[in-house]
Symmetry: C2
Subunit: 660 residues, 2 copies
Amino acid sequence: MAGKRSSGGTVAHRLIEEHLLEGRMVPGEEIGLRIDQTLTQDATGTLVMQELDALGLDRVQTDVSVQYVDHNLLQADERNAEDHAFLRSAARRFGVWYSKPGNGVSHPTHMQHFGLPGKSLAGSDSHTCAAGSLGMLAIGVGGLEVALAMAGRPLYLTMPRIWGIRLTGALPDWVSAKDVILELLRRHGVKGGVGRILEYHGPGLAGLTAMDRHVIANMGAELGATTSVFPADDAVRAFLRTESREDDFRELTAEPGARYDLDEEIDLTAVEPLIARPTSPGNVVAVREVAGEPLGQAVIGSSANPGLRDFAVAAAMVRGRQTAPGVSFDVNPTSREILQDLTRTGATLDLLAAGARLHQAGCLGCIGMGQAPASGRNSLRTFPRNFPGRSGTEDDAVWLCSPETATASALTGTITDPRAWAAEHDVPYPSLELPEEATVNTGMLEPPPAPDEAAGIRLERGPNISALPDFDPLPDTIDAPVLLTAGDHVSTDEISPAGARALPYRSNIPKLAEFTLTRLDADYPRRATELREHGGHLIVAGENWGQGSSREHAAITLRHLGLRAVLARSYARIHWQNLANFGVLALEFDDPDDQARIQPGDRLRLDGLHEALAPEAPPTLTARNTTREETYRLHHHLSDRQRRAVLSGGTIPALAPTTP
Amino acid sequence: MAGKRSSGGTVAHRLIEEHLLEGRMVPGEEIGLRIDQTLTQDATGTLVMQELDALGLDRVQTDVSVQYVDHNLLQADERNAEDHAFLRSAARRFGVWYSKPGNGVSHPTHMQHFGLPGKSLAGSDSHTCAAGSLGMLAIGVGGLEVALAMAGRPLYLTMPRIWGIRLTGALPDWVSAKDVILELLRRHGVKGGVGRILEYHGPGLAGLTAMDRHVIANMGAELGATTSVFPADDAVRAFLRTESREDDFRELTAEPGARYDLDEEIDLTAVEPLIARPTSPGNVVAVREVAGEPLGQAVIGSSANPGLRDFAVAAAMVRGRQTAPGVSFDVNPTSREILQDLTRTGATLDLLAAGARLHQAGCLGCIGMGQAPASGRNSLRTFPRNFPGRSGTEDDAVWLCSPETATASALTGTITDPRAWAAEHDVPYPSLELPEEATVNTGMLEPPPAPDEAAGIRLERGPNISALPDFDPLPDTIDAPVLLTAGDHVSTDEISPAGARALPYRSNIPKLAEFTLTRLDADYPRRATELREHGGHLIVAGENWGQGSSREHAAITLRHLGLRAVLARSYARIHWQNLANFGVLALEFDDPDDQARIQPGDRLRLDGLHEALAPEAPPTLTARNTTREETYRLHHHLSDRQRRAVLSGGTIPALAPTTP
């Protein structure tokens, strides 16, 4: 193992080293990692379970795999409940824990029950990285990657660079963890973490609890980072003690003199209340700069502010007060156990008395399952994302901020810096007394049955659970029109929308495909379908194509509609992997200016693909624009493994034994 | 006034007498009543507010009018939130109280804050009758009837017969108020109360609290009753004392020797746990007869079991236990104040610890806004209705029962008689200690502004708020095809579905019309639209056409699609009024057997309608089936006022000054 070490003893390096099965720890090279744990949620998990079925798996090979139900909780029709029944049956069949609807959001619930310093975790949710708060190597990937990890195969990724973020000082009153990650987004934007692991260190860590670190690690996803990592130190020990799991603690810190590939410093003392304006987590400004704007809604909760303290601070602020008329103050508990603790400490009563709409534990508005605001009316949320339309409202105006800012604003009815509110009302920053022992209640967390019993369990496929589509191998020549030319930072929310209309079809690819890219072009699915049997189509995009959610549906529905290749300036990590997994060729321009030369409807021709994607072949291609008589030089980053997948039509056919 | 008295000193007679403005108290004759209070909820209220605007109202003429937001709470897209903003602006404009989303379900919330013995209440919700629990004359009607009452006009209805229901004995352990009304439904079915007021009296009353009576009065709607009435006695005084409103008490009981038009007796001691099977509240059997059937969901809450005790008994039953795997146990608090009291007494914590999914206060699954069960999987609910598809699931299997039965079943995973569960686990019937003073929190109940301020308020019409359609007068001849022949007991849920898909369009008649009758005939809206400009169409139906919800949308969307007349065996009261209000002729067969002679597609011709509907003209008509060369004798029950409305194309055009 020692020979594989490339550099310096950071927590991230140590974690990778301990799990390295293939490759070298050289930034940019593909590595294969052993995965100890997996998590899946329901919106991505129904496909994962079907993939396990397609792979012929008998029982998962991980230490722990958990299927959460936290996304599709509205149950506007029978489809959600049928997905739940399917997931429970599949979890039981394959030896997976099942977390019932209402038990809680995967990330904090997983951290509370299964988080183990030093372990690796792959999750089919982009915010899986939140478990980095406990010194885990926790990576959000597409569902098929998770399915393969559940089957005992390595998780492949590109070795990232380790970005040391040194924290000094301590957060001032009315400033909290959310403001720290917003500060990083303010500095570096939504591409700032691409190809990197963010590793936090320094004396400032001492003032951040494990749940504060969860907030920061969670939204590392919004910088495009591979993951975020904190050391497993006394704060982690204290968290595990609170969860009655101190025995699970293992110290894991950077070696003395550890070297980071890149360095950054944040003086926590200088951080102030920040807020991301609509419609990107990267649009960060100081709250004071936008104070006074009216709002119609404020929501606290989500995996980006999941801890007991995040709700308790809000409860302390509203105690004895009323939220403003015309403002809906929505409280989304992140787990049933956190809600139990809020209730036994009296915080629930304070929130209710002040006019909170208290909802069931789950993701809810964070994934557009309800809580959609009125068009154009400001909604302040403690959520991780505010991509356009993700709230369920086409013309939405969603802002991202801390619980302190959201709550102060709910009380006043306008965007309010909590420091200004406190000064005006002479309110001291709440000194919270949280229980030393958190409630531990596993009643909604069903362990997998023993192998004998599991083997006899039948998958309960309701009428909404369609089979995975089969995809054909890559032809040697692609000759197809460009159906869409997109700009920078198009998110998977725009490619395959979530929300109450589309999410119920997450188990039904043909139906879900009807929503594909409709936020950018309402007619895209129809035109793509027309071309599907005639060579398919292409997409041209700018930077960071496919940022955000890990949903592999974004890749699968594009492929289902006949997409054969994307030509982009750059890709977001997870979506790029998903494209390869489902047989779509992800190419990059050598000259970024070529992007603008291509117009919708132009016909492109790529020849000799089989040879170009052969093992060890140079990663370069050319595309001929036969409409304009131009040629573009392109390259790709596909590993040999991924080339085989793309050539075969996807990873599952690449793995399947050849039928004679 | 004394001269108008027709009979005998019952509470119902006294209430009617005190509010009688027009007509005689003779069963079957039209009477006009003074209305003291109104309630509207959001699913019907957006039209009421537009009707007030169309009527040119400046300020409501009632003592109290309240606009609740309890139906459309999911906010799957921007439409719900935009309706809320519109309703708040309209409430403020017209001098109406506004109950914010999350404050609670209209019926218990109104009872708690505004219920006054001896007063009259008209509400655009069929369960408005629940306030009869306090000795009010509380009547559910179509939205336009409420709008006219808000404008100070009389509420018209057909003088009902008074049905005295004498209660003796006391309910056994594990049997509660819900079982009493299920017993009446078991005896008399969903038409048993048509044309009647159910008035409860007798020694058995002493054991029923005001909230127990609310349960019974609420579901009187399911018998088709005009309303239900209880005396204002010590139980009502005790309720008002708990709500810190004892000064509002006024005793109102039947005079000694009061005479009922009909008599019934229920020995409470003999009532056992009952349950209504899918898909009608009238399909009542004993729980023990169906015990052992598996379930996927149990839900407690709704206006049919809204009281603190209904949740507290469930909490006591689940304390220290866990709900069954694979069962979703949903708890829908009926008001934020009840949830506050549940929380301060510890019941919320017990429910959460046992695995409850605790939802915001509101109607939720009762109106198909979420909580839809899986197809064909049993769902037990403490709700008032289980019409097919009302849950949001086409092929649903919803059962109606008491909180005791729902909770015992959630714990076991099969339909369970709570007495059997208690015997098996040696559990005594919970002795509940409820707070002597209920929480009173008006923070989410916004009083109307003063007239000066109100006059300057602008209605906030979002893009989803369409104007009321204009309807043309009745032609002298209808010559049109029969587009649909329906059976008995078709509900307004089947005519104009609620649920998460359709409800957001409640402010948008053209869009909502696309859902009309699709549960019976998916193609109905298309065919009706084709015929609309060619003389419209007719519907033929059996008994009790239009039972259930008061939604006038059922009449408006039918009319919008070109319906000119219905030929039925009989009608449910509210829908029949709504048809007249929107210019649809509601006719009944003299010979009920004629119904079966008419086939879909038959063309019927009705001539000389203007003369037939003239004031004082005999209420008889004939229809000629020109396809089959048959003639049918028909009659109607329209008052002269209603005849004018039908001839004019509806009540609003009938009221409008004639334009030259």
